[in-house]
């Protein structure tokens, strides 16, 4: 069944929190809390608590980066030093550990950073994640609550959202 969307804009974060609370406790059919998206100009840990678990798995990519990057780098550097044209320089060992550690350290950071950035884009589904309803004011000073639900539940949701002094409710079945 095709789902419908509705977006309510709030000027005040407390009102938005109340609206979320009521949505959560409503327990209506054709609607899941995972389908609620809050759009806001700043991060809002207090609203996220109401939304339920939203897992972040960027750190696993970072872990992968910091494990694989330096090991590959170290082996690559050491085997480059030991490749056919190997040369003794300044009486030092051909595969000297302190310089290789310096480079390995830099590779550790570089691969960690690159994997984190990559993971961020994967996790945010960027570029090009366009949700159906967007209002430019959520990047300015409004809090938006976007709900995706079965079309028949939308009026009820709109009613709940409307109870908490929204500035505007938009969507397919908006008033």
């Amino acid at each position: 069944m095709k789902k419908s969307h509705t977006l309510a804009l709030y000027a005040d974060m407390d009102e938005a929190a109340n609206a979320l609370k009521e949505l959560k406790s409503s327990g209506m059919s054709g609607f899941r809390m995972e389908d609620v998206v809050v759009k806001s100009p700043i991060d809002h840990p207090e609203l996220s608590e109401l939304l339920g678990p939203r897992p972040v798995y960027i750190q696993w990519f970072t872990l992968l980066g910091v494990l694989l990057g330096p090991t590959t780098g170290l082996v690559l550097i050491a085997s480059a030093q030991a490749s056919f044209i190997y040369q003794v320089r300044g009486g030092r060992p051909v595969v000297p550990l302190p310089p290789d550690m310096v480079l390995t350290y830099e590779l550790f950071i570089l691969s960690g950073v690159l994997m984190t950035v990559l993971a961020t884009f994967v996790a945010m589904k960027l570029p090009g994640n366009r949700s159906p309803l967007y209002n430019a004011s959520v990047s300015e000073d409004k809090i938006g609550i976007l709900v995706k639900a079965d079309p028949q539940s939308i009026p009820q949701i709109n009613e709940i959202l409307g109870r908490h002094k929204p500035l505007e409710i938009m969507g397919d079945q908006a008033r």
Binding site: D43, Q59, P99, D100, I109, L114, R130
Partner: protein, 487 residues
């Protein structure tokens, strides 16, 4: 579970302490909408004076390019470098620019990790400064090369010749470290800018809108995006903090690993890192004053924030001074007679003027920051921040030149070496290049982080509210409840 003040007297103290009002970094009249308006205004069509300065910088840069082309075609001899004096201004200025690039990351990453919120209005342009100073420094590596057209020999890639760069060379460590640092700080800058780019996208038209739409990559400020963003941004900050420390300590190994008198010093890595932070911080103060004036950012770049910045700069200057003096002290009390002679030569020889100039500009001048008048008079502060940076440039000059002039082998001792106009031209050109890039940046991207200043405002309001609630409670003589006491 509910606690009352009367049954647990110590809790009363806790509650009081929790709401000790902090110094407000921003005024109470700042609203979210005003932030958008003010910062977006800085992206509007520039005034004519912008173009005057921009084209002057471009002219300066063009002169630098001319000098470089002249040098490229005729050989390094035109720079009047000679056998003991092989490096000259190029490496000195290289270190200067690398150093300038350090405080942006310190301010941004370190202060982000320790949740020092006052960084928020000023970290964005500092990071941009980091990126552009690194780009400028990278130019000097190329300018300095005798055979610029073979620069790719330094790059590690599996080539047909079976040859690799020499991984034991500090110059290769440099290249790796700076490459890593440039990549990471560029990504850090970009990542931190994504929510702001979305704001720009929502408010721009035409080609600019297309640019911001492309760069903001569809950011909509959803809760999932924010949650991921916060984790990623903190992770990057944690990587960048040690990276910034490692980069300049690796630059210092260019000198510390060699065995020239005056360079072969164990304390060089921390000394260089602190020197870098020092010059970077005074660079940030300079740009603070300029941007505040040009873009009318008085509401965001406020005196409390400037005070904190100055305190940090002063502290760093003092640590740097200490490390500089301790370097002289260890040389003086050490058994290396050549290094000792080099130290005496620095202070009394051909380059004594530069040496004492450095001592005055970089060691004595920071004490003026203790004066309240200096901290509040922006013209004076601007001049002093520039003097501090001149001092740091002189410091780099007097690390390199006197050591070459009097090193281990007496027959090669030279006196009175002075760089030619080509070197000065390229150094001047680098300032033009940096100015150009930074001016363009300020007109294309927001130089104040909008979303983080909004967070600041939000937190200030929350605090205000909590404080008000507490005052109400006290006035009404009611018992305050601990947060979460209902659970």
């Amino acid at each position: 579970m509910s606690h009352s003040v009367h049954s647990h007297p110590q809790l009363d103290v806790q509650v009081e302490r929790k709401f000790i009002p902090k110094q407000k970094d921003l005024g109470a009249d700042v609203t979210w909408a005003k932030i958008n308006k003010d910062v977006l205004r800085s992206l509007e069509k520039p005034r004519p004076v912008f173009w005057v300065i921009f084209f002057s910088a471009l002219a300066l840069f063009s002169f630098g390019v001319y000098c470089e082309v002249y040098q490229y075609q005729n050989g390094m001899g035109v720079a009047d470098l000679n056998n003991p004096q092989v490096w000259g201004l190029y490496i000195a200025t290289f270190i200067f620019w690398i150093g300038m690039g350090h405080s942006g990351t310190l301010l941004s990453a370190l202060l982000h990790i320790i949740h020092a919120d006052w960084r928020k209005p000023i970290y964005r342009y500092s990071e941009a400064m980091t990126t552009f100073t690194l780009l400028t420094a990278a130019l000097f590596v190329l300018v300095h090369m005798g055979r610029l057209w073979q620069f790719y020999y330094v790059v590690a890639y599996p080539n047909e010749r079976w040859t690799w760069p020499n991984f034991t060379s500090p110059l290769v460590w440099d290249a790796t470290a700076i490459g890593t640092y440039l990549t990471s700080s560029l990504l850090f800058l970009y990542m931190g800018m994504i929510p702001d780019l979305a704001i720009c996208r929502d408010n721009a038209r035409g080609a600019r809108r297309a640019l911001y739409r492309f760069l903001s990559m569809g950011w909509q400020g959803t809760d999932r995006q924010w949650a991921n963003f916060k984790v990623a941004y903190m992770t990057m900050a944690c990587f960048l903090m040690p990276l910034a420390v490692s980069v300049h300590s690796i630059v210092s190994t260019d000198f510390a690993v060699s065995q020239n008198p005056g360079w072969h010093v164990t304390s060089f890595p921390p000394y260089f890192v602190l020197g870098a932070l020092y010059s970077g911080c005074s660079g940030i103060i300079t740009l603070f004053i300029v941007l505040r004036y040009v873009f009318r950012f008085e509401a965001y770049m406020t005196q409390p924030i400037l005070n904190k910045l100055i305190k940090m700069t002063f502290a760093i200057a003092m640590v740097w001074t200490y490390l500089d003096l301790i370097e002289y002290a260890t040389t003086w009390y050490g058994s290396d007679e050549v290094a000792k002679a080099d130290l005496i030569y620095r202070a009394t020889g051909d380059y004594a003027l530069q040496f004492w100039g450095m001592i005055f500009c970089a060691m004595v001048m920071p004490f003026t920051l203790l004066i309240r008048f200096v901290r509040h008079n922006y013209v004076v502060l601007l001049i002093i921040s520039l003097i501090l940076n001149v001092g740091m440039w002189l410091e780099r000059f007097q690390i390199i030149t006197p050591t070459f002039a009097k090193s281990h082998y007496p027959w090669t001792w030279t006196a009175g070496w002075w760089p030619s106009w080509v070197q000065w031209g390229i150094v001047a050109g680098s300032f033009g290049w940096f100015t150009m890039l930074f001016m363009l940046y300020c007109k294309i991207f927001p130089s104040v982080s909008m979303y983080e200043v909004k967070e600041m405002v939000h937190e200030q309001n929350m605090e205000e509210k909590a404080l008000a609630a507490q005052t109400d409670v006290h006035e009404a003589g009611l018992v305050p409840e601990m947060k979460g006491g209902q659970a």
